[in-house]
């Protein structure tokens, strides 16, 4: 079964997700929430996996660090990959730990050639341990950083060349970053190397509580914005269908509401999937 549109899976939706008709539907989870010795979480995901493909989307590997991935964390991810045989495995072009302390967010860095060396080494290490390629997601941006050597797309493409990884294009991150830093979201999407994209993310954002419309926050707590849908349609028209995820982490609606957004993504993907078949 080819993956079509999927939905981010939250514990509140386990029963409805488990019962949902299959047909190309897949679910994505943060592996960090399943790195436990035992208990009901793993049993729930086992039950989901028995009926649907699963994607592991990591948030804690801290790939954009000047230090190798934490060995125990990588080992725990490998155990989950072995257990759930995910259809997709992905991580972020970001860092989240330094000096033994975790900063649970996706933090930015200057895209220098030195950083590229560290990150390529870290991605290769992860892929070696997992014995499979992973996809790397483009980040959201909130601040201007001094000292970039490479534009983001060139940086990501170089990372793919050096490690054999692929890319996860988060269209909402493009929209949020373009708005906040003042670049052209459509031009970014148009320039993104389609042959390297193995997954697409769609999510909602909101305006910053303090700054209003001057700053958008990649909050994952709202429906996908019309402008993001338009970018997604533009992307799929150019590169063809890819497994596409509706991400929702906050202000969680009922499962049917997420599935309605998923249907909208499916309506964009399906005509082209039929053509490709």
């Amino acid at each position: 079964m080819k993956l079509s549109a999927g939905v981010g899976l939250k514990p509140e939706h386990f029963d409805a997700a488990h019962a949902a008709p299959a047909g190309g539907l897949w679910f994505e989870v943060h592996p960090e929430n399943y790195m436990v010795a035992g208990g009901p979480r793993l049993a729930w995901l086992d039950a989901i996996r028995a009926r649907h493909p699963v994607s592991l989307h990591g948030v804690g590997m801290s790939l954009a660090s000047a230090a190798p991935p934490e060995a125990r964390h990588l080992e725990r991810l490998r155990a989950l990959v072995d257990r759930f045989e995910p259809a997709l495995v992905s991580e972020h072009l970001a860092w989240s730990s330094w000096g033994g302390v975790c900063y649970p967010d996706l933090l930015p860095f200057p895209r220098t050639r030195e950083a590229l060396d560290h990150i390529a080494s870290n991605v290769s290490r992860v892929q070696d341990v997992l014995a499979r390629p992973i996809a790397i997601e483009n980040p959201s941006h909130y601040v201007h950083i001094d000292g970039h050597d490479l534009p983001e797309i060139d940086f990501l493409a170089a990372l793919c060349r050096r490690t054999g990884c692929s890319l996860l294009l988060d269209v909402n991150n493009v929209f949020v970053g373009a708005h906040n830093l003042g670049y052209d979201a459509a031009a970014y999407v148009d320039a993104f190397p389609g042959d390297l994209v193995t997954e697409i993310h769609l999510a909602g954002h909101r305006v910053d509580a303090a700054l209003g419309n001057a700053l958008l926050v990649d909050s994952h707590d709202a429906p996908v914005d019309p402008a993001v849908w338009a970018l997604f349609e533009r992307l799929v028209a150019r590169i063809g269908p890819r497994p596409t995820l509706i991400e929702r982490d906050g202000s969680l609606p009922d499962f049917a509401t997420l599935m309605a957004e998923r249907s909208r993504a499916l309506a964009v993907l399906e005509p082209r999937m039929r053509r490709a078949a």
């Binding site: 436990v36 010795a37 035992g38 000047a66 330094w98 967010d105 860095f109 909130y142 001057a214």
Partner: protein
């Protein structure tokens, strides 16, 4: 600037002031607050999810303010936030604003017991009937290990278990009304899919301590009797077995009849 020095400066600025940061141009941008807020909120949300009874006792606002102080003192060390916050009970014990709530740290400890039981390795508990038919001497010589998920405590001074149960299960009712003020103990464990809790007296807690430390059931019984001379050891052992408090031993428990057959 190397990636390492960038990360060190950025990390320092997340929990610190922007004034003397080598990344002052970055940190002064309004967008930097998004990172700072997201980091703290993720940690506070994780604590809120893991300590519902504490939050019910003190209210959302107090809890989130105290949690933000805790986050600075004890930032997470692993990316799995479900494990985060093991030190919260000790933190609350020494937290001046909580001085008037001496039971708060104990309730936090029980919330933590629940999390640890929830996340513990799966393990089949010893069946309730597994010791039936053992001769008294064989029973007394048997060593049982508490179940991997089992956490227990006795609280001398206050009905911590009742406070915890009421505030964990429902924040809506008055979590402190009509409670008889006496010592209480509790055993929290997950023998099967769900976390359960069982009342435990001081003798029962001492009995489980002894079993954990490798004592035989006979030795553990003596420890329990030293705590409470009127302890009913048969009833205690039966209730612990019924709860699933012990792991199935790797070696089968030898019954006298099997001894004779060999």
């Amino acid at each position: 600037m190397t990636l390492a020095s960038f990360q060190a400066a950025f990390a320092a600025a997340v929990h610190g002031s922007a004034a003397e940061s080598p990344l002052a141009r970055l940190v002064r941008q309004p967008g930097f607050a998004v990172y700072r807020n997201t980091v703290v909120k993720a940690c506070v949300d994780a604590l809120r999810a893991s300590y519902p009874a504490v939050a019910a006792l003190v209210g959302e606002e107090w809890f989130r303010a105290a949690a933000a102080v805790f986050v600075r003192a004890h930032p997470p060390r692993v990316p799995m936030l479900v494990e985060y916050g093991a030190e919260l009970a000790d933190f609350l014990r020494a937290f001046p604003p909580a001085a008037e709530l001496p039971y708060l740290a104990h309730v936090a400890r029980l919330d933590r017991f629940w999390t640890e039981a929830h996340l513990a390795a799966d393990e089949p508990p010893l069946r309730a009937g597994a010791l039936a038919g053992l001769a008294p001497e064989a029973l007394a010589a048997t060593r049982l290990r508490p179940h991997a998920s089992a956490r227990w405590a006795w609280f001398d001074a206050a009905p911590i278990a009742t406070l915890w149960q009421r505030n964990r299960r429902s924040a809506a009712e008055d979590g402190c009304a009509d409670i008889e003020w006496r010592g209480e103990g509790v055993l929290v464990l997950r023998p099967h899919a769900e976390v359960i809790d069982v009342a435990l007296d001081a003798a029962g807690a001492a009995f489980l301590d002894a079993c954990r430390d490798g004592a035989t059931l006979g030795e553990a019984g003596m420890v329990a009797l030293a705590v409470r001379s009127d302890a009913d050891l048969c009833a205690l052992l039966a209730s612990l077995l019924e709860a699933g408090a012990f792991a199935s031993p790797e070696e089968p428990i030898r019954h006298p009849s099997q001894e004779r057959e060999r």
